[in-house]
């Protein structure tokens, strides 16, 4: 493989939430690279560790109880999290430097637009704040630019003086997006940006994000549970389960050459809009308790193909092609054909 121009490199990241009662293993050694200008989808269900991964990139995992245990993260060649000689992670930047990165080089959109905006400041103030912080302009200039970015996301600039409660859900999400884009970040992290919205509004917001991604040439990390959104937006996909990336590849790899039993289960769980008579084939059982993960493969208790080996030995990453890897014992023999 040739060396690519990566915007984001995550290597062997593990994050745990440590409380008196238990340790929650939220993220357990994941690798994730995003090339400049590309869109990477991260798919998983509740509790898979998607949001924790995103917060790690900003070094905003709530501490306590959250701790980045191992792994390194670098953004556009700059280290955010590094590893010392003992293999433990430490923040490579001071809090000051980190503040300079956040909102400037990497910005994030959160799931629930209803609660993501501070209710006591006008939306203009909140956007201008980011601009003032990173572009060192005066308040008036910042407000002017805030109005401009609002126009870009389709909100009249005059509404900059309104408070968040005066906007509908879809409009609020546009405000959040404009806030994230205010300083032209190289990487945008979108954490379920449309889950709280209605379908027709979701379509509008997704369309807007596609446009803006092109316009600003940013890399995008799209976190979602909706494979439909992935199909529409992404270049590469990682499927996450219980803190691991169990399958990774480009769109074709994942949608047409599905290899991991969990990925297949996800597809089978979705009602097929083109073939309404087909019966749903759900994955049996439940997500494992992240404070008490199975010894071997985390998916083993729900997997129809599980063998003895799966119970005891965690599977390793197996590359099926240049772009596609899977973590499953089914492919230990080196075959790349589907075993499902």
């Amino acid at each position: 493989m040739q060396e690519k121009d990566y915007m984001l490199k995550i290597e062997d990241l593990s994050v745990q939430y440590i409380t008196e009662d238990e340790i929650v293993y939220a993220v357990n050694g994941i690798n994730l690279n995003i090339e400049k200008g590309k869109t990477h989808g991260l798919v998983g269900e509740t509790g898979a560790g998607k949001t924790t991964t995103a917060l790690s990139i900003l070094n905003l995992v709530p501490d306590p109880p959250g701790k980045i245990i191992t792994g390194s993260i670098s953004l556009d060649g700059e280290d955010i999290i590094s590893v010392d000689d003992q293999g433990n992670s430490y923040p490579a930047m001071s809090e000051r430097q980190m503040e300079h990165i956040r909102g400037n080089k990497v910005a994030m959109i959160f799931q629930d637009p209803m609660t993501a905006l501070n209710p006591v400041f006008t939306v203009g103030d909140q956007i201008a704040e980011a601009i003032q912080l990173h572009e060192h302009v005066d308040k008036k200039k910042a407000m002017e630019k805030a109005r401009e970015v609002l126009e870009i996301v389709g909100i009249p600039g005059s509404r900059a003086d309104d408070y968040p409660h005066q906007f509908s859900g879809g409009m609020k999400q546009r405000v959040v997006i404009s806030m994230a884009l205010a300083c032209n970040p190289g990487l945008l992290i979108a954490d379920e940006p449309t889950t709280a919205l209605d379908v027709t509004i979701q379509a509008q917001v997704l369309d807007l994000m596609k446009d803006l991604r092109k316009k600003y040439d940013m890399a995008l990390l799209m976190i979602t549970h909706d494979l439909g959104i992935i199909a529409e937006m992404c270049d590469e996909v990682s499927i996450m389960y219980a803190g691991r990336i169990v399958e990774h590849g480009n769109l074709e790899d994942i949608f047409d050459h599905t290899r991991h039993p969990y990925t297949q289960g996800l597809f089978n769980s979705l009602p097929n809009i083109q073939d309404r008579k087909s019966k749903l084939k759900p994955i049996r059982g439940l997500m494992p308790d992240p404070s008490n993960l199975p010894l071997g493969c985390s998916f083993c208790p729900r997997c129809d193909y599980a063998t003895e080996k799966c119970k005891t030995e965690p599977p390793q990453k197996i590359w099926l092609s240049d772009t596609h890897y899977v973590e499953c014992h089914l492919y230990d023999d080196g075959s790349t054909e589907s075993k499902l």
Binding site: L58, L60, P62, E95, R96, E99, H100, I101, R102, G103, N104, A107, M108, F110, D112, T115, A116, L117, N118, P119, V120, F121, Q126, E129, A130, L133, H134, Y163, H165, Q166, V176, M179, A180, A182
Partner: protein, 314 residues
């Protein structure tokens, strides 16, 4: 907003009348003869009867009450049944002491409690938090008159820094103010701490940090403004307690305020003076509540919008 405030001000009128009714009724039912107390042992029955008629005490309750209310709205607090002089005279002489005490107490309490509460929340589960929490729980539990006595023992008796009682220059206000403020300080600190803890976990604080806002600004600019509302609520509710507390504190420090006046008048069965004091207190409480509600609107645009809606309809 103006409409809303006016509505609230108008609403104070029936509340005041109701307060007068309740207090007047209680005093009316109280056994004992105020005139006998006033005139002393050697007064003749005729004189007593004459004085009673002159004061209007012989009239039925409802007439007395209606007369009082009518006079009150003309700014007339009536004549004391004990001294025979205008109630307003003594009441207005006492009010400044009580006002200075309550407001300076409240001021001290708010100035200290909000930073303390924020600090405890930011440094949750550290020694700072523990010290503040212990201080706060003691503050809400300690009877203010006892705190006053302890302060006298320490600052006036032991170190002889301050005068122990009476009013003699501004130094006389220091201990009563501290005593007054202590309880409110504690309760506001507790509220501020817990609301701050909640707000610090809110999504919009995460959003602010994600766009590069420093920890300091996220706490003091973004979180504080949201977290201060419950603290103000508690301060407003406690204002009544503060006014009531002046009864005991004015006794401890021998200050001739409204609280003292009221206690003395109750003991002497001097209904007009008691009702006058109560009306003053009830009005103060209502006004402070209004101020608090307007303060909300100033801090939180959502509440402002709600007031404008309420003011508009009907």
């Amino acid at each position: 907003m103006v409409k809303y405030s006016l509505k609230r001000l108008v609403y104070m009128i029936p509340v005041t009348i109701a307060v007068v009714f309740i207090v007047y009724l209680i005093m009316y039912l109280t056994p004992g003869d105020p005139v006998a107390l006033m005139l002393g042992a050697e007064a003749t029955p005729e004189l007593i009867q004459e004085t009673r008629e002159a004061l209007g005490i012989t009239k039925p309750f409802l007439t007395q009450f209606t007369n009082y209310v009518v006079n009150l709205f003309q700014g007339d607090f009536g004549v004391s049944w004990y001294t025979g002089r205008e109630v307003a005279e003594r009441l207005f002489a006492s009010i400044p002491y009580t006002l200075i005490l309550t407001f300076s107490g409240m001021f001290v309490a708010l100035i200290c409690s909000i930073p303390m509460g924020v600090m405890a929340a930011v440094k949750q589960n550290t020694p700072v938090d523990y010290i503040v929490s212990v201080l706060a729980i003691c503050g809400v539990s300690a009877p203010s008159f006892w705190v006053g006595i302890m302060l006298i023992l320490l600052l006036a008796v032991e170190f002889q820094l301050l005068p122990s009682a009476g009013i003699d220059g501004w130094t006389s206000y220091i201990m009563p103010t501290l005593t007054m403020g202590f309880n409110m300080l504690a309760s506001v600190t507790r509220t501020q701490r817990s609301s701050m803890l909640e707000v610090l976990r809110a999504d919009y604080i995460r959003t602010a940090k994600a766009k590069g806002v420093s920890n300091f600004n996220a706490t003091y600019k973004h979180a504080l403004r949201n977290a201060i509302i419950p603290a103000i609520t508690v301060a407003g509710i406690n204002f009544g307690t503060l006014m009531a507390g002046s009864v005991a504190i004015e006794t401890v420090f021998a200050i001739p305020g409204v609280g003292r006046l009221m206690i003395d008048s109750i003991k002497l069965h001097d209904t007009p003076t008691v009702v006058g004091c109560m009306v003053f207190v009830a009005l103060m409480v209502s006004i402070i509540n209004l101020v608090v509600d307007l303060l909300y609107a100033f801090i939180d645009p959502r509440i402002k919008a709600q007031y404008i809606r309420e003011g508009g309809s009907k």
